[in-house]
Amino acid sequence: MSTLSAPERPAWRAPKPAARAWPTFVLRLKAGAARAAEPELTRAARTTSDAPGDAMLRTMTLLKRPVAALPKPAVAQTKAHSSAQTSARTQVPRDRAPSRLAYRIERLRLTPTVRIFLRYGLPVLLVAAVTGGILASADRRAAIMGQVTTLRDVVENRPEFMVRLLEIDGASPPVADAVRAMMPATLPVSSFKIDLAGFHDAIARMDAVETVMLKVRSGGVLTATVVERKPTVLWRNGNSLEMLDATGHRVATLLERAARPDLPVIAGEGAEAAVPEAMAILSAARPILSKVRGLVRVGDRRWDIVLDGDRRILLPQDRPIPAVEEAIALDKSQDLLSRDIAQIDFRNADRPTLRLGAAAMAAEHPDGASPTTASPGDSQPKVEDQ
């Protein structure tokens, strides 16, 4: 028999069952079932009895090789078929099997909730726990705070940040002294420790100061640029004499009038609130300014111009400037103010009225009749004591 010939049908094989008719495509499996019951024993027996030794003898005859050249047929090993198999198998290097615990832990780690917890929850918890643990003790908290403070002080007190000089620009000596006195810290001091906003507000709250700008310059200089209020008018308020600026804001108290003879005086109820109007009236009255003693606010609504000799020009509540100009025009044309007149009343713009002085009145009415005021139909007032 050679390898190239067709395989011989082994003797043990039962003859083929006779071909049956094919009822459907389904095989009649009864033959299979019957056979399955029967040959199990014989098949198992053959599996063990068909030992490799026999197989090799068969093969060697097949290959026409002398049997003596073979390695010794391992007949003795036939019995130990299964045990040899298992014992040999134990020598094989294997993958390391995870222990039951390791396997379960790995599976737990792969569970979605656990994975999310491990990725996000655990780090947050760890950081929180460590921080909380450190900060739980008061001593440790104090030590940490002390260290932070020390570090902060070291940085703040570096020479780069020290202010050694306070420079004040644009302030009069008394204001500069006041500013110096308001300085919240003694120099030299770190610029971080100066409350610049508070210092600025304190300076700006002073009446004499209009605006102030604070700036820490390089070289450790704190510059305060002050713009002072300019006093433009004196306000007699009861017994005191206050200086006001053009907006009516108080600048300072004046002890005596003679100290500032250049400033006009205003008085009366609500005078300080109407300083711009007063300034406009005074500037309109510049031609007669030598005769003007001051302005008086009457009833917190209109102004009187007080002239020397306690004479008055009563101005209307509305449009006082034209009245002043009219008075000046009258003075220019008729030399009104050098005459004996007690008051000129412009309160009614249609009918200005003069009141004569006592001497003029006596000359006009020697009988001592009541004084009258003349008012012509036109706007030109009549001066009667000519």
Partner: protein, 443 residues
């Protein structure tokens, strides 16, 4: 029978739950290796313009993890040492999980040994309405006369393979057909209960839930046979490590299965005994130099058989490849002859097409197809499993056909008897009586 019905139904529900969760593991516990694949299901792929599903409808899942480890404690495809097998399963599952980076809870397993037996069952009922309904299908399946399996046997598969209404046979779906008599043929596979219970126990010890179980020969056929072969009739021979399974398909149904308790490990054991080397060495020699056809060249090709006994002379032995082939060939012939006997017993020669497909790890011996053609018949080819998405290159060989077949089985399980509603008259009267008593007690 009802217990089995409930158990298989529970397994089907488990499989459905696993599909809904989207991740399921495939576990092939074989004699020489344990393979674990992790599948991710993400719904049906969008239909293509030409009406074909992409990848022949297999694109709804993707292999995202694969691992293989050497099997331990498995003999003849049955679990022999339970703790060892459990360790091997743990190793494979953990590695596959690690690759997939996802936890798997459901596993679909296959059994290669456990002495499967096929039964052809026939049942017949009269159609009351004159038209077959879904309930009638369940009734005719329930009417099949079940043979006596013997003690300790469990039903693994129960496929309805053929329906006939009156004189029209070969129907795949009888629902809606008009007729008076409905007959069904069912293919039933039983296995040893102890082997199944051992596998269940191992899987349970690994904290996994079994979502399905299949015969290894059947799923190898699903993976290795092309559609035409399944349709026209063919046999798939899954040559594993410890058992060689046979499954015969026609009209896309398995109609016969059987297994021989012989496989590649027996060839290895023969080499180990014949050359007096360790099993590991014999396995190496078999895979590197093995064959079944000796030529003159093989007489001159000397193989160092190695060894680590410490004896220099013993460890430096040389053997010609012809001698190696001389050892291997009789065992391979024996396996094929056993298979041939099974095919003859099943009446394979009656099939219209007699294609034979060899697959499994032991089918990788060079020259096997020629030898098989001499013993089994002319139309023999070597089969590789279907290509499925994401399968690593290392797992595309013939040794993985049952694993790949299990993937396909998981995606498209064939209708089994327990997928149909059990007819109402089969419910035990006791539960009805219990319901009545409950009403009496409470009102």
């Amino acid at each position: 029978m009802t217990d089995l019905y409930q158990m298989q139904r529970a397994m089907r529900n488990m499989r459905r739950a696993a599909m809904q969760r989207g991740v399921v593991a495939i576990l092939d516990v074989g004699t020489s290796k344990v393979a674990c694949l992790v599948l991710r299901f993400d719904g049906e792929a969008p239909p293509r313009e030409d009406g074909l599903g992409s990848m022949a409808g297999q694109s709804q899942f993707r292999v995202i993890g694969a691992a293989t480890t050497q099997s331990r404690g498995v003999r003849f495809g049955e679990i022999d040492a339970i703790p060892e097998t459990e360790r091997a399963i743990r190793t494979a599952v953990q590695a596959a999980q690690k690759m997939a980076d996802v936890r798997v809870d459901h596993v679909i397993a296959c059994l290669s040994g456990a002495r499967p037996k096929s039964y052809g069952l026939a049942g017949e009922i009269t159609l009351a309405q004159g038209r077959a309904s879904e309930g009638d299908v369940g009734r005719v399946l329930a009417a099949c006369d079940v043979p006596d399996f013997g003690e300790g046997r469990e039903v693994l598969h129960a496929h309805p393979v053929n329906f006939a209404i009156d004189h029209r046979s070969g129907l795949s779906d009888p629902r809606g057909h008009v007729g008076n008599r409905l007959a069904a043929d069912m293919h039933l596979v039983t296995i040893d209960m102890t082997a199944l219970q051992n596998l269940l126990y191992c899987i349970k010890r690994c904290d996994l839930e079994l979502a399905g179980i299949a015969s290894s020969a059947y799923v190898s056929g699903v993976a290795a046979l092309v559609e035409d072969e399944q349709e026209l009739g063919s046999a798939c021979i899954d040559m594993g490590g410890g058992a060689t399974g046979l499954s015969i398909f026609i009209k896309k149904h398995m109609i016969f299965t059987d297994a021989v308790r012989l496989g590649g490990e027996h060839v290895t054991a023969d080499i180990a005994k014949g050359l007096r080397v360790s099993t590991a060495n014999a396995e190496r020699i078999k895979t590197m130099h093995g064959g079944v056809y000796a030529t003159g060249m093989d007489d001159r090709e000397m193989i160092e058989i190695g060894g680590d006994s410490g004896d220099w002379e013993h460890d430096r032995r040389l053997v010609s490849r012809a001698e190696l082939i001389g050892i291997m060939r009789p065992r391979v012939e024996e396996i094929l002859e056993e298979t041939r006997a099974m095919l003859d017993a099943a009446g394979f020669d009656q099939l219209p097409s007699q294609q034979i497909v060899l697959t499994g790890g032991a089918s990788l011996i060079p020259g096997l197809d020629g030898l098989a053609a001499r013993i089994l018949g002319q139309s023999v080819r070597l089969g590789r499993p279907l290509r499925v998405q994401g399968l690593p290159q290392a797992a595309t060989g013939a040794a993985f056909s049952s694993a790949v077949g299990l993937c396909l089985f998981a995606a498209h399980p064939q209708d089994e008897w327990w997928d149909f509603e059990i007819p109402a008259e089969r419910y035990p009267a006791r539960s009805l009586r219990r319901a009545v008593r409950w009403f009496k007690d409470n009102w």
